[in-house]
């Protein structure tokens, strides 16, 4: 039997993504980003993102079909991010997905954005190990999950209690005079800096914090510590060693993330960790996670950077899994839910 051909749409933030997969095979991953329109505002402006999604939608669908070498009528199912994300932005993708489902007479699957970040890895590394520990880190989320079945059983173990990891990267980049989005610029600056130049705090790792927040994250204190350090330097009239501060900050983030992910795997007796989300593209995080996991006999899977950031292929990947496992499609009155919980994988 031919594996299902699934088209996925992602519009939860500033990327208009349309991906096409057949089973676990990636055929197209078209992304139009409005990031440059947001850069001067230092963060994503929801109304600007929503307007850009409307303009990019049909051209991006068209581009994905051309790349995949398929006709739209051959598609077996449509998947779309129904949440979480920016309400107005999600709505554009959901309405487009409904139109495709309606116009093609094919089933629609409204799926969870975070679960899609996990499912995308099967396009690169094959079927997901089940169960596995998934760590999702991006500008909008930082969470540790126990995944038994990506189409139904995702249990949250912990999450950020304040800023998301990617948000901390953006804010620290701004403090250091680096552009938005901060992640890639910090990564680049850190490459030629010393990670032990400043010993920045590791949030929620003290013995007391671990009692209540063993698998939770906190990055707001770290961001403040960086700001204090930079301000002190500026006051003393000395130049700020941007590369060293970037490297030290990055080390603090990656240290906490990998420590907690491995602790979660060990405590759950699970041998596989999967890392996804935009921050998973960070080079230090990938290296540190593999080093530390290998020392504990744990395997780490991280999709290539292009699949870590928001895209339509990840949504198609999860949709494809929904079809393969015979899950019930969504109704045409599917809402966009900006705060869709991770436990709701399919609406």
């Amino acid at each position: 039997m031919n594996e299902p051909l699934v088209l996925g749409i992602e519009t939860s933030c500033d990327e208009t993504g349309v991906g096409i997969v057949r089973g676990h095979t990636l055929l197209a991953d078209a992304v139009a980003s409005s990031v440059e329109e947001h850069a001067r505002f230092g963060g994503v402006v929801p109304e600007v993102a929503s307007r850009a999604h409307l303009e990019a939608m049909v051209p991006t669908i068209e581009r994905a079909c051309t790349t995949a070498g398929i006709a739209l009528r051959d598609v077996d199912a449509i998947a779309v991010t129904s949440g979480p994300g920016l309400a107005g932005a999600l709505l554009v993708g959901v309405a487009a997905a409904k139109s495709l489902a309606l116009g093609l007479g094919k089933p629609l699957y409204g799926v969870n954005h975070l679960a899609s970040h996990v499912a995308v890895d099967q396009l690169e590394h094959g079927p997901l190990p089940e169960p596995c520990i998934a760590m999702l880190v991006s500008g909008g989320h930082s969470s540790l999950l126990r995944v038994a079945d990506i189409t139904t059983g995702v249990d949250p173990l912990g999450a950020s209690i304040d800023d998301a990891a990617g948000e901390a990267f953006d804010k620290v980049a701004r403090l250091l005079g680096l552009p938005f989005p901060g992640g890639p610029f910090i990564d680049r600056a850190a490459a030629s800096g010393s990670s032990v130049y400043v010993d920045f705090p590791r949030g929620l790792t003290s013995r007391r914090d671990l009692e209540r927040h063993r698998f939770d994250f906190s990055f707001s204190g770290l961001k403040t510590a960086v700001a204090r350090w930079v301000e002190a330097r500026e006051r003393s009239g000395e130049p700020v060693p941007v590369n060293d501060v970037a490297a030290s900050f990055q080390e603090a983030v990656c240290d906490v993330l990998t420590r907690k992910a491995i602790d979660a795997a060990v405590s759950e007796g699970i041998d596989d960790i999967l890392i996804g989300g935009g921050v998973a593209a960070n080079s230090r995080l990938r290296v540190l996670a593999e080093e530390r996991a290998a020392a504990r006999g744990i395997r780490v899977r991280v999709p290539r950077p292009g699949l870590c950031t928001d895209n339509g292929a990840m949504v198609a990947a999860l949709g494809s899994e929904m079809v393969a496992r015979g899950r019930t499609p969504s109704a045409l009155d599917l809402p966009a839910d900006s705060s869709q919980p991770i436990t709701t994988v399919l609406v």
Binding site: G43, V58, G88, V92, A95, L100, D333
Partner: protein, 212 residues
């Protein structure tokens, strides 16, 4: 058959027409929630007319002005559906639809204004001649700045009677009239681009706040 819909008011309205014969027309029962209601209403209108999606030969969509979130639902639906069904998509100013209905229903017999709710204590509005032809581009203004004694069609009149004492005709656009207006060439056909009339709210960031 022409599939017509408008999402530029708090209501979603959908119709299917053959020429100027409206075969089926439905309005959302709930206010707002355009994203949830539009697709099921399209499906229902087709079913009610005994038609299938392949019968649709063109799509007409209200391009506003109206609240952005709902407006975009209508436009992305029209564009995507037009793309997948390979049929043309016509945009129509939503104020023009109200003007066509007001003239056809005999609610006006002199030059008039159409004004709808733009929220933030403003109205979207445009002036029309007695035949329902629009005389100027739609604008967004405070009601007191465009107060008039001529007849005013649309929700704006009902909301701001002190500025628009002569409220007449329909309050919100209907897709049946949108379809008829397109079929009878009573309105200008536009690209399916939203008439936002306002720039996005976005503030340039200052320097990072000091923490010490």
């Amino acid at each position: 058959m022409l599939l017509a819909f408008d999402t530029a008011s708090p209501q979603v309205t959908v119709a299917l027409a053959e020429g100027d014969d409206v075969l089926a027309e439905l309005r959302s029962e709930q206010s707002m929630k355009h994203g949830e209601q539009l697709a099921p209403l399209i499906e229902a209108v087709l079913a009610q007319a005994g038609a299938v999606r392949q019968d649709v030969t063109a799509i007409a969509v209200g391009v506003g002005p109206g609240p952005f979130t709902g407006l975009r639902v209508g436009l992305v639906t029209a564009r995507t559906l037009g793309f997948v069904l390979e049929v043309p998509v016509y945009g129509v100013c939503s104020l023009d639809v109200l003007a066509v209905e007001a003239v056809a229903a005999g609610a006006v017999d002199q030059p008039f204004v159409v004004a709808t709710d733009a929220r933030r204590k403003e109205v979207y509005w445009a002036p029309y001649d007695e035949s329902g032809a629009r005389l100027d581009e739609p604008q967004v203004s405070r009601p007191s700045d465009v107060a008039t004694a001529v007849p005013v069609v649309g929700e704006g009149a009902a909301l701001y009677p002190e500025s628009f004492p002569t409220s007449v005709g329909p309050q919100r656009p209907g897709a049946g009239w949108l379809a008829v207006a397109v079929a009878d060439e009573r309105v200008e056909l536009l690209d399916p681009e939203p008439l936002y009339l306002r720039r996005p709210d976005a503030v340039m960031p200052g320097k990072p706040k000091r923490v010490s």
